[in-house]
Amino acid sequence: MLPINIRPDKLSAEMLDFSQKLSKGMENLLNAKPIDTGVSPKEAVYKEDKLVLYRYHALPDVPKKQIPLLIVYALVNRPYMTDLQEDRSTVKGLLATGQDVYLIDWGYPDQADHSITLDDYINGYIDRCVDYICHTHNLPSLNILGICQGGTLSLCYTALHGSKVKNLVTMVTPVDFKTPQDMLSAWVQHMDVNMCVDTMGNVPGELLNWTFLSLKPFSLTGQKYINMVDLLDDESKVQNFLRMEKWIFDSPDQAGETFRQFIQDFYQNNKLILGTLTIGEHEIALKNITCPVLNIYALQDHLVPPVASQALKNKTSSADYTELAFPGGHIGIYVSRKAQKDVTPAIGKWLNVRS
């Protein structure tokens, strides 16, 4: 006998309750307000091509630290995840610790940008943003917070331009791209990236989205919406959910040449950890990183397995290497209440001690 004991009358009541919640929720959805994202006040201080460098306004009564912090976000998805809403904002948390926060918004590459390479991103865009900030503050170096793929780019940048990076924080950053739990890595091993890029030019955001959602298709494209029905009667939760949905499906296309190199060199050949990576004409050696490093990873990360980030340990020459494990997922590390309480203040504290 199977352990299922659902009486028809109970089932009917449950379905009625579900239907009523759904109908009430639909009314809330009909009245949903336009979604706002990126809530903290900021100003665009530098622009180049589609890139915009933002500087966030300091919080009142919080003295600014001298060394500015540059956030380098991933090329996939949009950086407003770091400032999603008033009570779930990594940026706001950093401002609260006195950081002078800058953030790179990469924009949406189109077909005219398909020739942009990783060299252009790392030794071009990031370097010029760093120069701009250092020049503005009359400082030789700044702090960098690299997030996800942005963390990988930041590692490459720091390995090449170590004198300009005072402290480096990496967050859910893949370093070893061939760990056993890495589903994304397993999938792309037999993909003909040259054929993809030569055919499509840029790689469409929809394709990347499909890949990310395919990591957990039943939860991410099914169960999530059923669970949402329970929250639909709360207008603010509906608004939060819509905001998150907007972010999830707001995936910029990837510049073809960058995608080609990222998949081939990082995912297929794991060159970063093997020390055989070249960006432009420069060899990337993680051993060249000597500044203090804070490496943060999420224990339930389904995109970047913790072990893929932990691989950074002992790969740099930093005498001041710290790890922080967050008990949550790849997204929760920016937006969960626990992250607001534990992760962001920890970054601020770590930086303040060293700046």
Binding site: N5, F18, R128, M200, G222, M228
Partner: protein, 342 residues
């Protein structure tokens, strides 16, 4: 008057009553031994038609997803409890799991959405495992000049041999190169379709494994003395079993190969199509994609060089400015020394 998108509370109230009536019908239907139609599902369809048309853009997509998934949840619930007796629903679960396994064992009678042979029961049951496949089809449609369904519907199995014969025939006459290209395009289309079938076959095998895992999990619960007391608990357990099996299987080398083949075959098809379009544009003396790429590459190279030169120029300017300051300071110092000496 309440501020609704329709400007009329009566209309909303009417909709609510309408929904309630459908809900009541659903309740009645669930107490019948073999309800003829899925009243829940019908109610949702009407609800969708009435509401989503006037919904704000920000909500429209989410409403669609909520209604789709709610429908799926209701379908599954309906299947779980279709033949329930009046006192308990556990007895029919074994039957349900058996049916799932049998259905997945022969996926091409039920798994393919547009198969005429499938029964309604199978279709509803299998809809859940169509999720990954459906997601893929949406992507293909958004990427393709030819919608994904069109690619999928190329007649294959029935006329495979004849088609291969035609495709192997060499091109003749002035247009032989063009003929070869179109033959290759069709060949790539068939290759993609064949891979897509393998992909679906893979998922159907996962359906069987999920049912086995569900049996195991239920048995574990039984051993622990726990019981499932709601449709949602059962649904969550089914999702969890499917997700676990999926996670295990998509990490296998077999799936990695299949995934690569699926992407590569689609890209090969699109690549051939792009080449044909490019050649047509070329004959019309219009710019082709290949030419644009060459221009974009050259432009990017020039921009890269410009930016590097501008950076070097800026560095030199700063250096000159620094040297000038130093020079001025030296002159001033020399002048001061001269004054003191005098």
């Amino acid at each position: 008057m309440m501020d609704t998108p329709f400007g009329n509370t009566d209309w909303m109230e009417l909709q609510r009553k309408y929904w309630q009536t459908w809900t009541d019908m659903g309740l009645k239907a669930m107490n019948q031994k073999n309800p003829g139609t899925l009243a829940w599902e019908g109610a949702l369809d009407y609800w969708r038609q009435a509401l989503t048309v006037n919904a704000p853009d920000v909500s429209k997509v989410l409403m669609d997803k909520l209604l789709d998934q709610s429908k799926l949840f209701m379908r599954l619930t309906d299947e779980f409890f279709r033949n329930a007796n009046s006192n308990s629903t556990s007895g029919n679960m074994e039957d349900w799991l058996d049916t799932v396994q049998k259905t997945f064992a022969n996926p091409f009678t039920g798994f393919i959405a547009n198969s005429n042979e499938q029964t309604e029961v199978m279709r509803r049951m299998l809809a859940f495992w169509e999720l990954p496949f459906d997601n893929w089809q949406r992507i293909v449609s958004s990427l393709a000049l030819v919608p994904g369904d069109a690619l999928f519907n190329i007649p294959h199995e029935q006329v495979k041999d004849k088609l291969q014969q035609v495709l192997s025939a060499p091109g003749l006459g002035y247009t032989r190169e063009e003929q070869t290209q179109y033959q290759d395009l069709l060949r790539q289309g068939l290759q993609y379709q064949s891979t897509l079938r393998d992909y679906m076959q893979f998922f159907s095998s996962l359906g069987i494994k999920s049912a086995e895992r569900m049996r195991l999990r239920l048995s574990e619960l039984s051993t622990k003395g726990s019981t499932i007391e709601s449709a949602r608990e059962l649904y969550d357990l089914w999702v969890s079993c499917c997700e676990d099996i999926y996670a295990e299987q998509v990490m296998t080398p077999e799936y990695a190969m299949l995934y690569g083949r699926l992407i590569n075959s689609l890209m090969a098809f699109k690549h051939r199509m792009t080449t044909i379009v490019d050649e047509s544009l070329g004959t019309l003396n219009m710019p082709t994609r290949a030419e644009l790429r060459t221009l974009q590459d050259r432009l990017q190279e020039t921009r890269r060089e410009n930016k590097a030169l501008r950076h070097d120029l800026e560095t030199l300017r700063e250096l000159v400015a620094t040297l000038n300051i130093k020079h001025t300071n030296i002159d001033t110092d020399n002048a001061a020394t001269a004054v003191i000496s005098n």
